[in-house]
Symmetry: C2
Subunit: 348 residues, 2 copies
């Protein structure tokens, strides 16, 4: 299963890894996967994880083995290298991508979310099903009204249901979203369209799934690793953060500050949602105030030492993983091997 | 020289590229390289470009052929795959990296910037020279006083000069930096250290190089491509922007907005410095207000059409390039081939 298992004589203590290095704790990863699966069962929805978070075939396999009904991707390039017999492309796919979509549909069951009549009309082919995307208040993509949703459904060659993205909506936002979803489902039903699938999503909104009771499946991604943004939003606790970045203090020249050897090319420039900082330090009351490409500017209340190794939970795990070709994994601080981030950079 | 030259029957019009796609205009690239080289000659300084911007061996070769005295890198992993007989590692290199630094020094002339006595003491070996980094007001790394600079120089085994990073300092900042540099050079001289090299840097500060007259070389990176941040700062004009991202409008569902198929996994999350937006559209009065991983939220004053292709100059070219395995290049909108971004992801 693993690309590279540990060989005799190689590094076994994660703290000995050359830095910066991404490390996944397998105990935590497996627990996160099992828990979300259990919760989905309790909520009465299926789990179709968004694999853009990790882009690693071995992790997708763990999710599928735990009971996920398939995978969600944003781009075809991700689906082409990640496993799962049932693939939802959660993205408006235009004509030039259709040959690849049809090739995918020859081997796997394929669904595409569409939000316009034109795209709905274009996306057809053997084994290609469509979900109509509904904007539930985020303002990114999706039909704006029940009437629009019906029009798009009428243009679909194989309508299967609807799709919504709750992003970081709060409880009031979820309740408003539910009203919209119900109105859309009623309008569709009145026009003869029965939505077999009502696909919701996102890790921060997962626990609010019961607030939209007609949801049949959700598409969280981040929950495999969680991150500093999940932590700041109290979606998880520190012990749930499976992905950590090992870094080294490289400069303490400026008083009250140290600089670590990881910047936006290691973490991404994404801020910790709501906090405005750039990650969470394990076991230290340090604050990452700013990033350059290869430097993290850390505000420190006490001393720091050049050469000191520190663990950081990144602000946004999906963006961090996508910067790296490989990720180490192991248990209890030991390194057991590394995974290739197979779908890294697959933006097409 | 090029990894993949265009084959008969392949795409020739850049607008036919599958999106999102990075494209470099060679005419503009070559002009940018030639111009910066000329300007450095006029300012009486050598040019040692920071190759973290492009991470592409073929572009480094063009810079060296145009007269660059060597290359600047942040990480050893970059130096290991990019050409240049004279390599400055503009980064505090700690002990665990020394074996790789020494291996590099066997084949190429190597300099390292150091900002602490400990690191200066550790970084020694045949062919390894050191520059003492001075903080000229940016507050990232570097000695804080002339006294500290002298202490660090005393710990160097092969002191060659000093190093400063002006980042985005304005003219007043440069004048203050000059006072600091002069004080450091005088203190070093009084202690018997003659700085043969005074290494400055950065594209936004390049034109202010004469304000620090004892500078002997500069290390700009961005100038090969420029970007929307350079444009907003009036460091260049639109025609100088050699790197552009071809994107497609994928949704117009939300009124007053369109969504393009490129988000932070294509551009990075870096904002356009000073503007707070996320890139510059060519030929359209559109504003990129927000990015998700694969979606760009664009404010549009008039209509946009699903399927419409649009060119975007990214906010920060260095961060954008580092997300991609390959970049297309050509002239006058034609595609001539692609380069592998050989040092992509080399954060160690």
């Amino acid at each position: 299963m693993h690309r590279q298992d540990r060989k005799e004589g190689s590094i076994v203590d994660a703290l000995d890894l050359d830095t910066p290095a991404l490390y996944v704790d397998l105990d935590v990863l497996e627990r996160n996967i099992a828990r979300m699966q259990e919760q989905c069962r309790a909520w009465g929805v299926a789990l179709r994880p968004h694999v853009k978070t990790h882009k690693i075939p071995e992790i997708a396999k763990l999710q599928l083995e735990a009971g996920a009904i398939g995978i969600t991707v944003a781009k075809l390039g991700e689906a082409e290298v990640l496993p799962g017999d049932d693939v939802l492309v959660a993205y408006p796919l235009l004509k030039p991508k259709l040959p690849r979509l049809r090739a995918l549909a020859k081997k796997r069951r394929v669904k595409v979310a569409v939000d316009s009549v034109d795209v709905a009309r274009d996306v057809h082919g053997k084994g290609i099903e469509t979900l109509v995307e509904i904007d539930v208040g985020v303002g990114r993509t999706g039909a704006q009204s029940p009437e629009q949703a019906v029009e798009i459904a009428q243009a679909c060659s194989d309508f299967q249901g609807i799709f919504y993205w709750p992003s970081w909506l709060d409880e009031a936002g979820f309740r408003a979203a539910c009203v919209k979803i119900d109105a859309v489902l009623d309008a569709l039903s009145a026009s003869g369209f029965e939505a077999r699938i009502v696909s919701g999503g996102s890790t921060p909104g997962a626990a609010k799934t019961p607030l939209i009771p007609r949801t049949t499946e959700i598409r969280p991604g981040t929950y495999v690793f969680y991150d500093a943004s999940s932590l700041a939003a109290q979606v998880c606790v520190e012990a749930d953060c499976a992905l950590r970045v090992l870094t080294t203090v490289v400069s303490t020249a400026v008083p009250g500050q140290c600089v670590i050897d990881a910047g936006s090319k290691t973490f991404s420039s994404d801020q910790t949602v709501g906090a405005g900082t750039f990650g969470h330090f394990i076991g230290r009351a340090w604050t990452m105030r700013k990033l350059n490409e290869e430097h993290g500017y850390v505000e420190i209340p006490g001393p720091a030492h050049v050469g000191e190794k520190v663990w950081v939970v990144p602000s946004h795990c999906c963006a961090t993983v996508n910067l790296h070709d490989e990720i180490w994994y192991g248990r209890r601080g030991r390194v057991e091997g590394s995974w290739k981030v197979a779908a890294r950079g697959k933006v097409r």
